[in-house]
Amino acid sequence: MSYVRTIIASVRVGWSREFGWTHPLLGISLKTIGPIASTMTAATVLYIGFRNGTAISSAELPYLLGYILLGATLYAHVSAYSWVPTLAIAEGKWTFVFPQ
């Protein structure tokens, strides 16, 4: 049970850190803009390749677009999952939360 309480406490601290400074909807929107923009970058590159290149047919485009969208949004999640704990540990060391 103590693990559950620790996890709940960590979730509350993390939520407060990320969204405590503003309205939660605004905070979530700001967090969403980045992954949307990076996904749109990848989709735009695909679109340029389709319009100006010779290797992508009209029949293939929807499948490739789905592939790119899936990969780009998954990447946004994976990079966040790797970044957030790293930053949490680094901040914990700066603020002496973790034993040195």
């Binding site: 980045g34 923009a37 990076s38």
Partner: protein, 268 residues
């Protein structure tokens, strides 16, 4: 040389040295600084190649180079004063005789020096793997690149002044700015074939967008000054305006912070 000018240059050197040394003092950061732009750049280069336009891979390689600097501007320039304030260093800056402008310029120079090797590695590896066709006139390329960096880092100085009034939300603002500005600026693709005119105009108002346009024209277009003179003038004007804005904003916010007692806040 008068004493004040001597102090100014000494502060620039000191801040630049610390910034450069800190980047290479932590091997993990070297790997992160190279890895993040490199893998994104390589992925988009492969996408261009597999779409049947291998010559466009140069856009993605150039984008990887400039994203390194853009990330440095956001995370090591804009947020730096805010982090220094949290750690109690900003209090030392303002109580010391060191001019804040010299500290900002030193941070910029240190950031450029620290980022240059990772950007160079992205460029070299991109060249080796994809052989993008480039036809630069090197003096013009150096001029355009220098002006782009100058205006980018001037924007970083302006943002660092603004971020002084923020707390933790500065990190959230950086995360919200990083990718959208990269997208609107057309870091990995030319905006004139991807965006409608309105979005192109918005992108050209951002130093990164104007700089990317000028760099693409210089590297992959006609190596002629007349082809990019308007971009050069625009970048120079942006750099001057942003430098002036950052010095004014810093003075105003410093004065406001002194009166309200919020100029130096330590983490407790």
């Amino acid at each position: 040389m008068n004493l004040r000018a001597s102090l100014w240059w000494k502060v620039v050197y000191a801040r630049a040295w610390v910034r450069t040394k800190s980047i290479y003092g932590e091997p993990v950061w070297v790997a992160v600084n190279v890895g993040f732009p490199f893998f994104t750049s390589m992925a988009l280069s492969l996408l261009y190649r597999n779409a049947g336009i291998p010559s466009a891979a140069g856009f993605a390689v150039l984008g990887g180079v400039m994203v390194s600097f853009w990330g440095n501007v956001l995370w090591s320039m804009a947020s730096q004063f805010n982090w220094d304030k949290q750690q109690g260093l900003f209090e030392l800056y303002i109580t010391s005789p060191a001019p804040i402008s010299a500290i900002l310029v030193g941070m910029s120079l240190g950031g450029i020096l620290g980022t240059a090797p990772s950007a160079t590695m992205v460029a070299v590896l991109g060249w080796i793997f994809f052989h993008p066709p480039a036809n630069p006139y090197w003096p013009l390329l150096v001029l355009v690149f220098s002006l782009t960096l100058a205006s980018l880092y001037a924007m970083g100085m302006a943002l660092s002044s603004l971020y002084l009034v923020y707390g933790r939300e500065a990190d959230s603002m950086n995360e919200a700015l990083h990718e959208p500005v990269s997208f609107l600026s057309g870091v990995y693709f030319p905006t004139n074939i991807a965006f409608p005119s309105v979005l192109q105009a918005v992108g050209l108002l951002i130093p990164l967008g104007l700089g990317m346009d000028a760099l693409r024209r210089t590297l992959f277009g006609s190596p002629d000054f007349g082809f990019v003179y308007s971009e050069i003038l625009g970048l120079a004007a942006m750099g001057i305006i942003l430098l002036y804005a950052s010095s004014k904003a810093l003075k105003i916010l410093e004065e406001k912070g002194r009166r309200a007692g919020t100029i130096a806040v330590r983490m407790r």
